[in-house]
């Protein structure tokens, strides 16, 4: 529910979006309302400040990284289709609606989710998580008490464990392989926030 002022007509290319992302019309509408809410100055596009206004993100250790994941490299703003595409990664796995043969895989497949996570680490988009990048993420996720040396050693060991081709960086394939060894019950495939119609619960 929400203000009934917006309707599907306001959403450009709604049909294509639905096809591409697998969201239902109701979902899309809700996301559009949310988009409009976030877009304070009604430009039709979101800027980082708009994301920054969400209180909860400031309390998230990797909040800023996630925000920048919405922005394609070089872009300063996010329009609605991009917004939806990113969120589509987190749609529940089991409700894939459209699967035509031309798509290689649905948007919310496991690989795509892992890719998203990978890009959180790999800020410079070179396809590899270097030691420095890993260090940055670790720094963000660990408490202040952890000293630089300890961080270094953790990063060191992490890379050693995962790096198979000995290039001192973790590529996407190595990343995937590590995740696949022991599937953790909390990977996003099962537990996702987007759920049909239940408003905010």
């Amino acid at each position: 529910m929400g203000s009934s002022s917006s309707s599907m007509d306001h959403i450009p290319n709604a049909e294509e979006l639905m096809q591409e992302t697998g969201f239902s019309a109701a979902h899309l509408l809700r996301l559009y309302e949310r988009f409009e809410f976030l877009d304070k100055d009604q430009t039709g596009e979101l800027r980082p400040e708009d994301f920054g206004a969400i209180g909860g993100l400031a309390l998230n250790p990797i909040g800023d990284r996630i925000i920048s994941a919405f922005f394609s490299p070089g872009q300063e703003t996010v329009d609605f289709p991009s917004f939806v595409r990113v969120l589509a990664h987190f749609r529940p796995n089991g409700t894939n609606r459209t699967r035509n043969g031309t798509q290689q895989e649905p948007v919310n497949s496991r690989t795509r989710k892992l890719k998203f996570a990978f890009q959180l680490y790999d800020q410079d988009r070179d396809g590899k998580i270097s030691r420095a990048e890993l260090l940055q993420v670790l720094r963000a996720m660990l408490g202040i008490q952890v000293t630089e040396e300890q961080l270094q050693s953790i990063a060191e060991r992490a890379i050693q464990e995962a790096d198979l081709d000995r290039d001192d960086a973790i590529s996407f394939d190595e990343f995937k392989k590590v995740q696949q060894v022991s599937p953790h019950p909390q990977t996003p495939t099962k537990e996702t926030p987007l759920h049909p119609t239940e408003g905010g619960r």
């Binding site: 209180g55 250790p61 998203f116």
Partner: protein, 813 residues
């Protein structure tokens, strides 16, 4: 009367004393005086209050003894130990008197011991969590309790018919009555046990909320079946049953509504008590108690009434009342609740040592125990299965087990059992005995085994294979990502009904119930807070001047000795922040050093070589220090501690970091140094200017906010080249700035005078003060730091800014 009649022992004591005192002294009973009494022994005079005070003292001493040794309390919950203590005491009294002089009577329990516990629960209730899960809580409370009652009653009756219990004079209705009094999960017992077992907050609120709300059902069921029993089986027809159902709605909603009204009353009162601040705290207790009694008088649910009174008034009285009054209320609540709980458990123990009440019927008792456990499990699992189809985050298996196992019965059941009419219910003593056994079993046995059970289950469910480091990190990353996506997509925050309620609440209720000065002072506190910020900023600039550039900001990670610098000035305005200062002295070395515990672990393992130990080290390190996601924060209610949520530190750290990095990236979009003279130049200007709504000028990639209003202030800055702030004046004629209200006038004088002094102490670090945004005035608002952060976004209205501050922020850049 609260206690039973004086025992013979006391009579003999008194008479012997009288004999002794007759030698020339007066007993004080009006017998003939022979001479002027110097001192008299007047036991009878003080008897009742003396005994009460003495028992309270004894209960307190018991608690002291028990808490002396933490090793014991880790294994056996305090409540169980108190009951055992009660056994001992009861034994002593029994030995002296041959009759149990002191038992837990329903009057004392329901009127003097229970209300403060429930008020405490309501006042400290995490509202957002509570109402967010209200649907689930109601399902468990209503349907779950009805199921428990019905199933227990019917099963026992069935077994009776089947002959398992021998010869008992109990009819179906009486079984149902018994079932209804045994059905209710007890809030006192639940808290006592769950404090030990740290479960996640959702699980906790489900069980706790259920234990509070099921009183509505229990009262109704008990009264209805009591009436049925009085009427006799023949009189019951459809009308009566329908009346029973209607009475449920009336009792439950009426009680809640009544509590709500009283809550509003308290809030209104505290709005006007500016002149009698010294007795402000009293109002909440008196009105809470009145809420309870009024509901009791109107035969509504008293517990629901007092719960909702506490729940409703929290926010307003915390805002309206003086800081010290709020502290007083909090402490007093805890003292009363803790004290009551202690006494309840001690007396539960004492009440057992009474030969007159004990009737043993193996079948009845054992079957009751069995059925209670079994039906609780069935009920919880079934209801959870239904709920999980509608819940966003399903309730896991372990949680369900804990919920079922945590369905403890306690003193409420016992109180109800004692209230049974023995004329109508011949087997009252059997029921009392059974109730006591059940209570002891759940509190003692289940209490002791709860922790091991949880540990065993969790260990079992934990990953069988050892995760690699990168996996552990990655899992955490996923957790954080999910929480962030929830926030972004507004799943949790944007519920139509909730929005509507928030709007209504802010517009009407806060307006009516909160002091106008408080509504404004929320801004004021921020303004003071940002005066501090500004002072720091000025110190930056001063230091920059001294050093020639502001590069030091990047490299220094020093912390400010805040108290020393600002303590006196701001302790008035922000006492809570000052109170939190102690953890601001945060050089890394001050915090607990993780190494000792690592070495402990190393000691256990055999040293297989450096790589192994390094491995262990890093894994352990990771385990210990990874920030928990929001989902994992602990429950927020405790009988004996205030800020149970130790992750407050974590939240602060994260917030601080985020702000720091945002500030840096904001700063990095600018290149330049602001000579302080620019500031003084504009300090004389008093214009209020607003800047345009950033769009046209926004080329800056940085974003600095925790609030909506401020975001716009970033925009108009020129990203180009080295900025000489001396040229800033060019921007003056532009249209107004929109910057949050907390950037108000600050005194510049002290900032400008001696930069070297300030720089000498230690370097200021703005974000460390920024993090005060999170725990700011914790008592005034909810403890929920997330809600505080949300408040940041919602409370701020863009307003004007004095020119100077605007330039100051540019100056930092």
């Amino acid at each position: 009367c609260t206690y039973k009649r004086l025992s013979p022992a006391f009579c003999t004591l008194r008479s012997s004393l009288q004999n002794r005192t007759r030698m020339g002294l007066n007993t004080g009973h009006g017998s003939s005086i022979k001479e002027v009494p110097i001192v008299t022994f007047k036991w009878h005079h003080v008897e009742t209050p003396y005994l009460i005070a003495l028992w309270i003292l004894v209960a307190g001493l018991a608690k002291m003894v028990i808490e002396a040794n933490h090793h014991v309390t880790n294994v056996i919950p305090e409540s169980a130990l108190l009951i055992c203590f009660g056994f001992i005491l009861g034994g002593m009294v029994w030995g002296a008197d041959k009759v149990q002089t002191f038992t837990l009577t329903p009057t004392v329990f329901f009127f003097y011991l229970l209300p403060q516990i429930i008020l405490d629960a309501g006042y400290f209730m995490p509202n957002k969590l509570f109402f967010g899960n209200m649907g689930a809580i109601l399902i468990y409370a209503i349907i779950g309790t009805c199921w428990n009652a019905a199933s227990l009653g019917l099963s026992l009756w069935g077994c009776h018919k089947g002959g398992a219990m021998g010869d008992l004079d109990i009819g179906l209705l009486q079984y149902l009555l018994f079932g209804s009094l045994m059905a209710a999960v007890d809030p006192v017992a639940v808290i006592a046990v769950f404090e030990q077992v740290h479960v996640n907050e959702v699980l906790f609120i489900l069980v706790f909320g259920e234990s509070l709300l099921n009183d509505g059902v229990t009262v109704v069921l008990f009264n209805v079946f009591d009436a049925f029993v009085s009427l006799g089986g023949s009189q019951i027809d459809a009308v009566e049953i329908i009346k029973g159902i209607i009475s449920f709605f009336v009792v439950a909603f009426g009680g809640s509504l009544l509590g709500f009204v009283f809550g509003l009353l308290v809030s209104l009162l505290t709005r006007c008590t500016k002149n009698i601040q010294i007795i402000e705290p009293g109002f909440i207790f008196v009105l809470g108690y009145l809420a309870y009694l009024t509901a009791e008088m109107l035969s509504l649910s008293a517990i629901l009434s007092i719960v909702f009174c506490g729940v409703c008034c929290q926010k307003y009285i915390n805002a309206n009342m003086d800081e010290k009054s709020v502290s007083t209320v909090r402490y007093t609540m805890k003292v009363l609740a803790n004290g009551s709980e202690t006494m309840i458990f001690v007396f539960l123990g004492i009440s057992a040592i009474d030969k007159t009440i004990w009737v043993w019927n193996t079948g009845f008792i054992l079957l009751t125990l069995l059925f209670i456990m079994v039906y609780r499990f069935i009920g919880v699992f079934f209801l959870t299965w239904i709920l999980n189809r509608y819940r966003l985050v399903p309730i896991g298996f372990i949680d369900q087990v804990i919920m079922s196992y945590g369905g403890l019965r306690g003193a409420v059941a016992y109180g109800l059992a004692v209230m049974l009419d023995e004329n109508k219910i011949k087997e009252k003593n059997l029921m009392i005995s059974t109730t006591l056994i059940v209570v002891y079993f759940t509190v003692i046995f289940q209490g002791i085994t709860m922790k091991p059970l949880v540990t065993w289950l969790k260990v079992k469910r934990a990953a069988v294979t050892e995760l690699t480091l990168i996996e552990k990190v990655q899992n955490k990353v996923f957790d954080h990502v999910l929480v962030a996506i929830e926030d972004i997509s507004g799943q949790i925050g944007h519920n139509y009904m909730r929005d509507k309620w928030n709007y209504f609440e802010e517009k009407w209720m806060s307006w009516a119930l909160m002091k106008p000065s408080v509504r404004k002072s929320r801004d004021h506190v921020f303004s003071v807070f940002h005066q501090l910020n500004l002072k720091d900023a000025m110190s930056y600039v001063a230091e920059g001047e001294r050093r020639g550039s502001l590069e030091f900001i990047r490299n220094e990670s020093a912390f400010i000795d805040f108290k020393k610098k600002f303590g006196d000035e701001f302790s008035e305005a922000m006492p809570d922040i000052m109170a939190n200062m102690s953890d601001d002295h945060g050089a890394a070395s001050d915090r607990r050093d993780p190494v000792p515990s690592v070495s402990l672990e190393m000691h256990e393992q055999t040293m297989k070589g450096m790589r192994e130990t390094e491995d262990i080290n890093t894994h352990h390190l990771l385990q210990q220090h990874l920030y928990k996601g929001r989902k994992q924060h602990r429950h927020r209610y405790s009988r004996s501690h205030f800020d149970v949520n130790k992750d407050e530190n974590e939240v602060q750290e994260i917030f601080q970091r985020t702000m720091r990095s945002r500030l840096e990236s904001f700063k990095s979009a600018k290149m330049g140094v602001a000579p302080p003279k620019t500031i003084s130049k504009y300090s004389k200007k008093d214009q209020q200017q607003k800047m345009p709504n950033g769009k046209s000028l926004d080329r800056s990639k940085s974003y600095y906010s925790g609030d909506e209003g401020f975001t716009n202030s970033v925009s108009p800055f020129h990203p180009a080249g080295i900025e000489n702030p001396a040229f800033m004046p060019d921007m003056d004629p532009m249209t107004p700035i929109q910057i949050p209200p907390w950037l108000m006038e600050a005194e510049l004088d002290s900032g400008m005078v001696a930069p070297s002094q300030r720089a000498q102490v230690r370097l200021p670090w703005t974000p460390s003060n920024l993090r005060r945004l999170a725990p700011f005035r914790a008592s005034a608002q909810s403890n929920d730091s997330f809600m505080l952060a949300d408040n940041l976004t919602s409370d701020f209205a863009p307003s004007t800014l004095k020119t100077r501050e605007c330039f100051l922020f540019r100056a930092i850049a």
